[in-house]
């Protein structure tokens, strides 16, 4: 059994920018109102959290980074990767992209070249 979360159904078909002050349906809003509560519930009940990325009209990188990378900055990237299972048939390359955001979330700032 897994907890499921669909971005199109539970949040918006038109996901927006990174943070709330930039516009509607932001990645921060999705993380705080949907992803984090579902993640905590899944973690507490030792279940997987299946996040369905299908059904939207597209995603900005900043939305995905703020939502999934943001979650990995608050919790452990390894734990986030282990708990969240991504589904995306509309644009399969997004799955690896999001996993990369989670892995890179705690990277230290680059040194100026």
């Amino acid at each position: 059994m897994a907890i499921t979360l669909s971005i199109a159904r539970d949040f918006s078909e038109t996901p927006g920018p990174r943070s709330r002050n930039e516009g509607k349906f932001s990645g921060d809003q999705f993380r705080e109102e949907h992803l984090e509560p579902a993640f905590l519930e899944a973690r507490a009940s030792r279940q997987a959290l299946e996040v369905d990325l299908d059904g939207t009209v597209g995603y900005a990188t900043s939305f995905l980074e703020a939502a999934f990378g943001g979650l990995a900055r608050d919790y452990e990237p390894g734990e986030v990767l282990e708990t969240i299972k991504l589904k995306c048939e509309d644009e399969p390359s997004l799955i690896e992209e999001v996993r990369q955001y989670i892995r890179d979330a705690n990277k230290s700032p680059r040194k100026n070249r």
């Binding site: 038109t14 930039e22 509607k24 597209g58 900043s62 980074e65 979330a105 990277k107 070249r113």
Partner: protein, 330 residues
């Protein structure tokens, strides 16, 4: 004993006192208007200058002449009314109309009017574009011809507006709204660009810049043309560079054209200094490389880039702002 409070109260409630106040007010008003009428300066009639629009009016096909024209328009438009001579225009593209619209809204310019080109195709494009919603027509425009290019503007990220532009464009080009990898790429691009304008285009100013976006569905060529413009500081002032790197560039080693290549490849750090930021333009570049965005052009400051063919040129005439143009064929 005089009781002032009671007497004053009686006085100001009297009808005679009220009438006195009313008459005094009317008298003052009429004296003011008489004075105004007597001393009003003579109305200045602003001169009208005629400006010839380049025969190829396009940021993507003829950037130098188009940018030169915009610079002249800015200078003349501040002083005089402007009459645009479009008679000899043979090619006018959606990106030029979008940039002119943005330019007229962002710059303080007097009345701008224009005529119609002799070339029938250019005339048709102009009539269908909504150009005359921003430029006064010198001749009567046939009804029902306006607004084929959908135009939107804002200062924040507007996801539903972005999707609305895509829906309108695909409906015009293909006869019905559709969703595909191309529409997803167009949506990603629009949101990334709105985000960049909101966060970086204003430079050191506190207030965000306005962006303008247009979509135009071409049913004959089965493609949707998108243009995104902001009149901000441009891409290059919103990236973080090491002081040595900046000095090198000032000395002429590696100009903005090279810098744009590096930004698109994700090699340049975001101005925020955070490693997880600044992924927008590289993502747009990847969508273009994957073929989901066709004919991607970027004009920013002194750089003109045909990203799809890999041509990056330095312009003589600079553009204060950022323009992206791309097409989607699915």
């Amino acid at each position: 004993v005089i009781r002032y409070d009671v007497d004053m109260k009686r006085l100001i409630t009297l009808r005679r006192w009220k009438m006195h106040l009313k008459r005094r007010q009317e008298d003052e008003l009429s004296r003011g208007s008489r004075h105004k009428a007597r001393y009003q300066p003579a109305k200045r009639v602003r001169k009208t200058v005629h400006l010839e629009v380049p025969t190829t009016f396009s940021m993507t096909h003829n950037p130098e002449e188009t940018l030169w024209f915009l610079q002249v328009l800015k200078v003349q438009g501040k002083e005089y009314n402007v009459s645009l001579d479009l008679t000899d225009v043979t090619l006018i593209t959606a990106d030029a109309i979008a940039v002119l619209t943005a330019f007229l809204s962002a710059t303080w310019i007097n009345t701008v009017q224009g005529n119609l080109p002799n070339d029938p195709v250019a005339r048709q494009v102009l009539l269908q574009s909504g150009f005359f919603e921003h430029v006064k027509s010198e001749t009567a425009i046939p009804p029902g011809q306006l607004g084929k290019i959908k135009e939107r503007q804002s200062k924040i990220v507007q996801p539903t507006t972005a999707w609305n532009l895509i829906e309108c464009g695909t409906a015009q080009a293909f006869g019905a709204t559709k969703r595909s990898l191309s529409t997803r790429a167009a949506y990603t691009t629009l949101i990334e660009l709105m985000n960049n304008t909101h966060n970086h285009a204003a430079g050191d100013d506190l207030e965000s810049q306005t962006w303008w976006a247009t979509s135009y569905g071409d049913p004959e060529k089965k493609r949707v043309c998108y243009t995104f413009v902001d009149m901000g500081v441009g891409i290059f002032r919103s990236v973080k560079m090491h002081p040595i790197q900046r000095t090198f560039r000032k000395l002429g080693f590696g100009g903005n054209a090279q810098l744009l290549r590096e930004i698109l490849l994700g090699l340049v750090e975001s101005s925020t200094g955070l490693p997880y930021r600044g992924k927008g333009l590289p993502a747009i570049f990847r969508k273009s490389q994957a073929g989901n965005l066709k004919s991607l052009f970027i004009v920013a400051n002194d750089v003109f880039a045909n990203v799809s063919t890999g041509d990056y040129l330095t312009l003589k005439n600079k553009f204060r702002g950022t323009l992206l143009y791309w097409e989607c064929e699915e």
